[in-house]
């Protein structure tokens, strides 16, 4: 059961920078006043982040994944919470792959 010092050092470094990112943003807006433009910017971050998170995968996907995307988006648009849309999308893609479409 080895615990190599260099590896531990690397892990601690990774942990430090990761937590700095996690906590740093919140601490910065605590200490620095943010004007209306910055406020609008932060307001748009969630949607923009989601779009960026899914974009590469959507572009890389095939017709099966795109079908899943359309179904997920359509159900999500009209349902109260994201769960049914998520499950429907995954089900479509999973079944499609089992049937050899993916």
């Amino acid at each position: 059961m080895r615990l190599d010092p260099t590896i531990v050092l690397t892990i601690l470094g990774m942990a430090l920078v990761t937590y700095a990112a996690r906590a740093g943003g919140f601490l910065i807006v605590q200490w620095l006043p943010i004007g209306p433009f910055a406020r609008r910017f932060l307001d748009h971050i969630p949607g923009a982040t989601f779009a960026a998170l899914i974009a590469p995968a959507v572009f890389a996907g095939g017709p099966l994944e795109w079908t899943g995307v359309v179904i997920t988006a359509a159900i999500a648009r009209y349902a109260g919470n994201p769960l049914p849309a998520m499950l429907a999308g995954v089900a479509v893609v999973a079944i499609g792959r089992q049937l050899g479409a993916g």
Partner: protein
């Protein structure tokens, strides 16, 4: 309504994140497998999952892992990939400010994309129990660490997440959450900007950059469009 921090919120967060735990478990196991191939011991791999708790950067680290370990490169790459958490924490400030420094910092340690996404949607819908963030995060944290250990102990028998389309699950989550933010055609400006930049960055740069650059570009486009709309109002 004042922001609270109670067990109810934490439980709600844990329940809402449950569908994602299967994917998190399998990806955790996949990381366990990669860590074995890279030469980490079980303790080292578990330590990484327990202290870093950031899948994308952990996978990237395993890709560039070598003997001797490129310490500085790994740390810098980790920061680049995880830099997006800076804006993520800032967005949740309305929930984090009122609950006290310790709870805020603790909740932030447990913050990942999926629990953040769910929490932002919850916060924007008017919910005030900020423990939701910690509850959802803690659940994924335990599953991630368990998955890592399970992946190591399974001797290479890790189920392929793609077999049950579980690799589609995070995409479906973020897409579904995105739809709840739809405010009309104007919403397309930041989203399409973000998608375009992310797509370009994905082709040109390594992991982490697509999300970071896409999110910043999209949010800038949205903020600029909002500002211009205000100036042209009669």
């Amino acid at each position: 309504m004042p922001v609270t921090f109670s067990r109810q919120g934490a439980v709600r967060g844990a329940l809402d994140v449950l569908p994602l735990t299967v994917a998190a478990l399998l990806f955790g196991m996949a990381f366990g497998l990669l860590s074995a191939e890279a030469g980490l011991s079980v303790i080292e791999a578990t330590l990484m999952s327990a202290l870093v708790f950031a899948g994308a950067s952990q996978f990237a680290a395993m890709q560039i892992w070598a003997e001797p370990v490129p310490v500085v490169t790994v740390i810098l790459t980790t920061f680049a990939i995880n830099a997006r958490h800076l804006v993520m924490g800032a967005v949740l400030a309305p929930w984090l400010r009122p609950i006290g420094r310790l709870r805020a910092l603790g909740s932030l340690f447990l913050m990942v994309d999926e629990s953040w996404g769910l929490s932002v949607a919850k916060m924007k819908s008017g919910a005030t129990d900020a423990a939701y963030l910690a509850g959802s995060g803690a659940t994924l944290y335990m599953v991630w660490a368990t998955g890592t250990i399970a992946g190591r102990l399974s001797g290479g028998l890790v189920p392929d997440p793609a077999a049950f389309a579980l690799d589609f699950l995070p995409l479906a989550l973020f897409l579904a959450l995105l739809m709840t933010f739809w405010r009309g055609p104007g919403s397309l400006v930041p989203w399409l900007t973000s998608a375009a930049v992310a797509f370009a960055a994905d082709a040109a740069a390594g992991p982490g950059w697509p999300v970071l650059l896409g999110a910043i570009a999209g949010a800038l486009a949205g903020a600029v469009t909002d500002s211009r709309r205000e100036y042209t109002r009669p």
